[in-house]
Each structure stands twice: as structure tokens, then as C-alpha cells.
Symmetry: C2
Subunit: 282 residues, 2 copies
């Protein structure tokens, strides 16, 4: 039974694209095609049945796809849409999964054909490993999906994207502007990765394995990072990230000052405030 | 069958003391007594059978205990031993569980009776909740136990402590000096708690619950903190902690500088270094 009456193409069969394919396959779309630059990945994806057919060249699947889900790096996403502008089917929904949105949406909208609808998306899910081998149809369970609509988007198409991401497991869909998205991600996603990296890189004095408790492990988990992708995200969102780093540095200096000047009450109230905020978090 | 041929007293039946009691009970010591300032806690501990008998006044159990395990805040630990100096049984082993060691060991050794052996210990385990209700006999499974011996300690007594903590579930026992302990804890335990607090306290701009992914959750988990205990730990270990905060600030500024000056290669190599170090962690 076809639950999704669309031809869908996924571009990039990595961790995110692969997980999308696995989750979408369960919904029985009319056709589920994959595009990748790696022939071995296409072969694996076909053999394991997570796509109906894979392609190195995107033209054929794009010409017949109602929905195109692009799961590659931000700047590659822009380039892919630009390079294949003439291949997309009239009326197609194009969506992406990149971790930055403002620059990407503006650039794509500057050259997008009038008859296409680019609805930018960002699955708030991931892992510290990359590649199809770590993909899973359950990766999106209980995560948030962010959509950053603009005036150009067709309301019905937004509903279609929202419906699909809910069907593949996302807990809820949040709609905000691309600018807001980038500001918030600088805090909730990029800053924690930067802090984890700074913490572990500053720790080379000791054989820490013998002395780590849960706090250090958790604080550095995401230091295991896809360095190429994150370099791109950070450079592209630099204004917001620098503001968040400075905000964090200020917050850290408050604690430092209280320690230096032996202000027990200040320190206790800083910890109480943090505890309370953390308790309020889901 | 008595596996531990000792009378043991646990001072402070909170998260750590309660967990010690539960785990020790399984080893059938000759007698397992508890001391606490809270009558209700003593009653609960007696009723649930995690101790044989509880006391508000420590004199009676101390006079008959071969081993005394003190599970209260660092400065209370010092005060408890000082105040009850004349109660301890000749030849008794006294150990503690405080998260700082240098100042504590020096102070206690300055007034300790010659016939007593204070062997300082630190279980590298804990939870973000406090109190007996969160104690568990399995809390120490797979954690490290640090012992910080000094020239005063009797080798056989160190072996006894080591044997007991292994029997109650600790994966391994690490022996280092009190000074080293405090330096390392500033990095592997106290700094992550400070960072988590600074991160969450700096984040009050948004309703972050709608936007948090795993990275922010993990990075702030230990912001849920026992503020009184941690204020004490930080003030008492301030020299080492300030050095570690400054080291971390330096490491963070490296990333910031690379972002400001658009140095993609520098940024990528910083992330690669962090990834590699994190992969090497247990």
C-alpha cells in the first residue's frame, strides 16, 4: 500500500540521507530514488533495499521527482540545486537538511526557478559518526524538525513536508525564520560542539582515562566530530557563533571572578540558577 | 557468612554513604553501623536494613569500629574527625570520600592520633541528585576509586581499603598523591561542572526546549548540581581550578580566533585533533 503518493529522490546517502531513505521506505512511496557521488554507496543502498534505484547522475530521478530531499553539506546543497536547476520537475518540492539556513536560503532563492518550491529543513538529530553504515530508520525518533519557511513557500507544500517528517518519527515540527534558526543553532548546537572541542584539546596534560567520571565524558562526547562539515557550519554562521562564544565567555568569567574573590554566596547562587534551568529542560 | 571480618561505621547516609552501606551489606560485615544528623534518615536506613543500627551520636559505634567511612562534605569531614578524635578505636582505619584531598589530608594529619590511620579516598562516581533516596548498591559499578596515600599510611591498611572498594564494584583503584588528585580533578570533574553551568546560565535568551539536540543536553547535564557541595569544592581547590579555567579559555580563544579570521584549515585541524583525542577516550 502506497502511503506516500510521490516519487522521492534523496541526494546524498550518508548518515542523514541514509536514515531518511530507511525511514521513508517504510511508508512505501511510489518510487524512492537515491543520488550519490560514490558508486559503492549506491550499490549498497540498492542491495539492502533502502532505495528502489540509485544514480550517479541526478538528471533522470530529478525529472520525475515530486519531492527532492538534499542531504549533503550546506555549500554543496547550494551548488547541487544551482547545477541541476534545469532538471527539476515542474512544481517539485525541494528540501534540505543543512545545519545553517540564512545564507543558504537567500542564495538558493536568488536563482531558484519560479515553478519550484524550496522549503528549507533541519532535522535536530545526528550522531558523532558519519556515513551510511551508521544510518538508521529510528534516528529521528523523538527529535525536533525545524522548517524555516519564507514568503515564497506554498502553504500546502509546507504541510506535505511537515506530514512526512512526522510520519518518519520526528516528535514535533518547529517553524522559525532562517535568521532565527541560525541564531538559535549557534547556541544549542554549535556552541556545545565548540566547547567540547576546546575542553578536550586543553586536556593533554594527563592520562585522563584513569580519572574521567561521567561529567568529562558527557562534556566531550560531541568533540568526536565531522571536522569538514563543522568547519563549514562555523564559518558560514560566524557572526552568530562569535556572539554566543562571547556570551559564554562572559558567563564563565562570572564564575571565575567569584572563585578568585572567594564569594561563596555568589558562587552558590550561580549554581542554583544553573541547576534550576537544567531541571526545567526536557 | 561474614566476608568482611570488621565492624564498619559509615558517617553520613546520603547518596554516597547510602550507596556504600547498600553495597557493603551484601558483603556481610561483622557489624555495619550508620551515623547521621537526621533521625528520619537513620530510621529509614534501619528499616530498610541497609545498616544494622544507626546513631545520632557517633561515640558508641566509633569506639567499636575497625573501619570508619566518612561520606560527608569535605570541611565537615575534617571537623568530624577533629571533634571525635578521642572516640576512635585504637588501630582504626578512617577513610573519606571527599572530592578534594590536598588541604583535607594535610589538616587531618596535623591533628590525627598516632595510632589511627587516615587513608583518603575518592569514589569517581556520583549522580546529579543527592540523598539516600537516590543511593544504590550498583552506583560504583565500573567506576574508578582514587586513594591518595601519604607516608603515614600503613601498607596493609591501604590493601584493606583497596580490597573493600573492589569488592563493592569499583573497576579499578588508582593511587596518586593528594596534590595530583586535586590538579587532575580540577580538569576532569570540576571544570566540566563549571562549563555546564556557564553554558546553561548564558542561554536564557530562548525557549531552548524546542531546539535542543543531544549536544546541548549532554553538555549541560551536570549543571544540575549540589550547589553547596560544589561551592565548597571549588573554593577549596581554587588554585588548580583557576589554572584549568584559564587553560580552557585559551583553548576556546584558539577556536574563536580561527573563526574570526576565517581560517578553515586551522579550524579543521583543531576539530581533527579533538576528534582523535575523544576517540582515544574509554
Amino acid at each position: 500500500m502506497i502511503e506516500l503518493d510521490f516519487n522521492i529522490t534523496i541526494v546524498g546517502l550518508g548518515l542523514i540521507g541514509g536514515s531518511f531513505a530507511m525511514a521513508l521506505k517504510e511508508l512505501n512511496p511510489k518510487n524512492l530514488w537515491g543520488v550519490d557521488i560514490d558508486e559503492d554507496i549506491i550499490k549498497t543502498a540498492e542491495e539492502t533495499g533502502i532505495i528502489d534505484k540509485g544514480y550517479l547522475k541526478p538528471q533522470a530521478p530529478l525529472e520525475n521527482s515530486d519531492i527532492v530531499i538534499i542531504c549533503i553539506y550546506p555549500n554543496m546543497t547550494i551548488k547541487f540545486i544551482r547545477d541541476n536547476m534545469n532538471c527539476f520537475k515542474t512544481g517539485a518540492i525541494i528540501t534540505d537538511t543543512a545545519g545553517i539556513k540564512d545564507k543558504l536560503v537567500r542564495e538558493i532563492n536568488s536563482f531558484l526557478r519560479e515553478d519550484l518550491d524550496f522549503i528549507a529543513g533541519h532535522p535536530m538529530a545526528g550522531r558523532e559518526y558519519k556515513g551510511l553504515e551508521f544510518a538508521s530508520k529510528d534516528m529521528f525518533a523523538d527529535a525536533s524538525y525545524i522548517i524555516t519557511p519564507t514568503y515564497r513557500n506554498n502553504k500546502e507544500n509546507i504541510d506535505i513536508v511537515e506530514d512526512i517528517v512526522k510520519k518518519i518519527g520526528f516528535r514535533d515540527v518547529v517553524k522559525i525564520s532562517p535568521e532565527e534558526h541560525d541564531k538559535i543553532m549557534a547556541l544549542t548546537s554549535q556552541l556545545p560542539h565548540i566547547i567540547a572541542t576546546a575542553l578536550i584539546n586543553g586536556s593533554n596534560e594527563y592520562d585522563i582515562n584513569r580519572f574521567i567520571a561521567g561529567s568529562f565524558k558527557d562534556a566531550t562526547r560531541v568533540a568526536r566530530i565531522n571536522s569538514q562539515l563543522w568547519t563549514e557550519l562555523l564559518i558560514d554562521n560566524r557572526k552568530n557563533i562569535l556572539a554566543q562564544i562571547e556570551n559564554f565567555e562572559y558567563s564563565l568569567r562570572e564564575i571565575k571572578r567569584a572563585i578568585i574573590s572567594n564569594e561563596r554566596e555568589t558562587l552558590k547562587s550561580i549554581f542554583d540558577k544553573g541547576s534550576l534551568r537544567r531541571e526545567g529542560m526536557l
